[in-house]
């Protein structure tokens, strides 16, 4: 027997006596910890390899997870299950994929929903870009590109839009087609230099609007109320739908038509057509209301069928925001595939760790046999080797934290900015990284430890 092992043996004898006689659990654990560190230092190469593998595997998974978490986060978690997107089939069978109705509404249907007002709150939503003359004209005469939406008055309370000054406009303003506008904080800064500018007049693409509200920073991603995608730029303004339609403000809007072609110069024809171009959202605050609204949509479509406008049975949908985002495949499939590949990497790293731990533990069959022969139970062998695995896991986790931080910070190199900015490092992510590393390593150590604990005491001694 080698001298080192004899020394080890002496220690073990001492330990077994001590542990059984005087010291409590803590002492045993401290001793296992010491043993683990000593064992790991005996084979620095193998140890470094395992720690690196765990670190890389965990970091790759957690980096991709942080992107995935950012991208698939609920944009309005406190209310998303009460917000619904109604879809009414204005095209008939054979036009949508899998019999799905179009995702937007025709002007006729949107206005009918608004007029009949069966939801708690509701709004049509039309996306638009507008050129605006900057406060100090730039030299080459270029305009500021501003992005906004035409919405109804209930849009603001429905989505809990936070206001800095003033508020949304009233239902009266909708009805009277008032020229009012709600602007964002940063647009207020850009155009008017900031401050409370409620009541002032602002010109947006040749129409003058009275500012009724200035919203605080509000940039939910993805833009779940209309575009259903991630936008790189913040919103600038909101106008009333009724004013916008009556004054041709949205006459260049994007529309989709049954036969695939829209005549984009003829706004009057678009209003009469079966082309869809208005997003719609309703708030329904209890299951009974949801049920009632479904029935209402079907009744509406039946009525249209009786009137001869639809030649098909009602084919409506009423999905809540999470279901609608899922239906729209808002989370890019690249993100999911990348997460999957990163998790595959973690599995390979774990397999690698299982193999190396197995080699490392079984190499110490002699030591195990001696300890067993001197009366150590299988449980204490388990405890000793799982402690060793735990040390590797913790070290791998610390390395993983570093790699994850580097990964999340450099995710912008491999992903578009609108997605990369959603990946964040927070305490939950860091804690999860550490936990994953330790848990994964302990899991990887289960089989090698099981094998170590089964080393028969006497046989090993004989063989030596």
């Amino acid at each position: 027997m080698r001298r080192r092992e004899i020394r080890c043996l002496e220690k073990v004898v001492g330990l077994n006596q001590q542990a059984s006689l005087t010291q409590g659990e803590n002492g045993v654990f401290a001793y296992y910890l010491e043993l683990a560190v000593r064992s790991l230092r005996r084979s620095p190469g193998l140890t470094a390899l395992m720690i690196l593998a765990i670190g890389f595997g965990v970091a790759a998974s957690m980096t991709m997870y942080s992107v995935f978490r950012g991208v698939s986060a609920d944009p309005i978690p406190w209310k998303s299950s009460q917000l619904f997107v109604p879809q009414i089939d204005a095209w008939g069978p054979g036009h949508g994929e899998n019999g799905e109705p179009p995702t937007a509404l025709t002007y006729i249907d949107a206005m009918a929903l608004t007029r009949q007002h069966r939801a708690f709150r509701q709004s049509s939503i039309i996306a638009m870009w507008r050129s605006i003359a900057p406060p100090h004209a730039s030299q080459d005469g270029t305009l500021i590109e501003a992005r906004g939406y035409a919405v109804d008055s209930e849009f603001f309370p429905m989505l809990d839009v936070p206001f800095h000054y003033g508020g949304g406009w009233s239902a009266d303003d909708d009805a009277h087609r008032a020229a009012v506008v709600v602007i964002s904080d940063h647009f207020n800064q850009e155009m008017l230099g900031g401050g409370n500018n409620v009541g002032k007049i602002i010109t947006i693409a040749s129409h003058d609007y009275r500012i009724v509200g200035i919203i605080k920073y509000w940039n939910p991603q993805p833009e779940f109320f209309a575009l259903f995608r991630f936008e790189a730029t913040e919103l600038d303004f909101f106008l009333p739908v009724q004013f916008a339609v009556a004054n041709n403000v949205v006459s260049d809007t994007y529309s989709e038509c049954k036969d695939g072609r829209s005549l984009r110069t003829d706004f009057a024809a678009l209003l009469r057509s079966d082309c869809t171009w208005l997003s719609y959202m309703v708030e329904l605050d209890n299951p009974a209301a949801v049920q009632a609204y479904r029935q209402y949509l079907d009744a509406y479509a039946s009525e249209q069928q009786q009137l001869g406008r639809f030649q098909w049975k009602p084919n409506n949908r009423l999905r809540d925001v999470p279901a609608f985002l899922d239906y729209q495949h808002v989370v890019p499939s690249n993100t999911k595939v990348s997460l999957l590949v990163a998790q595959g990497l973690l599995v390979v790293c774990l397999l690698n760790t299982v193999g190396l731990l197995l080699a490392k533990f079984l190499r110490r069959s002699g030591e195990i046999a001696v300890r067993r022969a001197l009366g150590a139970s299988r449980a204490s062998i388990y405890a000793q080797f799982l402690t060793e695995a735990g040390v590797i896991g913790a070290a791998g986790g610390l390395l993983g934290l570093l790699f994850t931080a580097i990964g999340v910070l450099s995710v912008g190199m491999v992903m578009p900015a609108r997605l990369a900015t959603l990946a964040r490092i927070d305490p939950a992510l860091l804690l999860l990284t550490l936990l994953l590393a330790v848990a994964a390593t302990l899991f990887a150590a289960v089989y090698p430890t099981y094998r170590a604990a089964r080393v028969p005491p006497a046989l090993q001694l004989k063989a030596q």
Binding site: L46, L143, R264, T265, L351, G355, L356, R363
Partner: protein, 409 residues
Amino acid sequence: MNVYPILVALRRHKASVLLIVLQIALTLAIVANALFIIGHSIERMRRTSGLDEDGLIFIFQKLPLVSGDDATVIEKIDAMQRADLQAIRNLSNVQDAAATSGFPLLQGDEDGEISLDADRKGKFVHAAYYYGDEHLRETFGARLIAGRDFFASEIGHGHGLPGSPVIIVSKSLADQLCPGGNALGQTVYQDGKPATIVGIVERLKTPSFDDSNWADNSVIEPLRKDVFWTGYVVRARSGRTDQAIRDIRKALFAVNPMRHMPPGAGIHSFSEQRAGMYDEERGVALLMAVICVILLSVTAAGVVGLTSFWVGQRHRQIGVRRALGARKVDILRYFQIEILLIAGGGAVIGALCAVGLNAWLMKHYEMMHLPLFYVAIGVLAMLVLGQVAVLVPARRASNVPPVVATRSV
């Protein structure tokens, strides 16, 4: 060397062997699919648009809203487009300019079916439409291989609807429609309206960035499409692209300052815009490459670790073999063949896993069919990786002196 004793020896390490085989299999499955994603991106970045891309500038903008009935709006928009094009063509750094409803690989959303008979009973082919004026083909730099360009008198304007009496088509479309090669002069039908093919260009990609089986089927219609969102394509004089872009911006805003170029639109060189389109794919490819490198390193390190352990464990056996007359090279071979068997086993399972993973990805995500070429690369990579990883431990084993056999533990 006889393989049998190696197999027998491996049976004594079932768990370790199984682990390393699994690790190699999984690595192969992921690496083959990742390499495919990388290869596919590179292939897409190399696609030819059919244009002479150098010096090509494209402009996409929204004209100021105008009011009036449909016919009035169209005339007003057309007048604005003609004024813009005139202003651009007058610039000294510009060679030519044309109106276009789309840009190959970048922008445009008009497509439909071209058929050989009016009621589309017989053969029809899917194609994308470019609406443009008589300058378009020349400005694009698409090579005319048969027939002629449009005459100025043939250019209409108005709603972007197919149905012009004369059209120019891409060779791909001509070949699919008339495999006999008699497309030139042929009457074809677009939405039931007859058109004569007067010219054929060698190649012209559709505006779609995505792959499809009609990605080269394009039709040029002699029509200025009058909508608020308009496109122009400009050919700068050689080496003057940047100056031309600056001049064009100044000239257009001088004609009408109320035009509108939000992000995604504007005035850009074609090559810059095209490169930008691939940012996302390039990012994914880079990510896959990083993951591949980590995977291969981890697996190689795993092989090194495990074989080193085996070498240590068999120290005495090796000594005995050496004492019985085995040469150094025999010991080396032993470990090399051993890892070849293990890596080979892993590669076989891995190849099946790679195909399975691809099938699963195709079912759940937008993924193409994995060509066997990439599986073969993966298999080869695993075999090479095994040999490289085993080299150092195997060398160490072959250096074990025969005298070890005579020593006790």
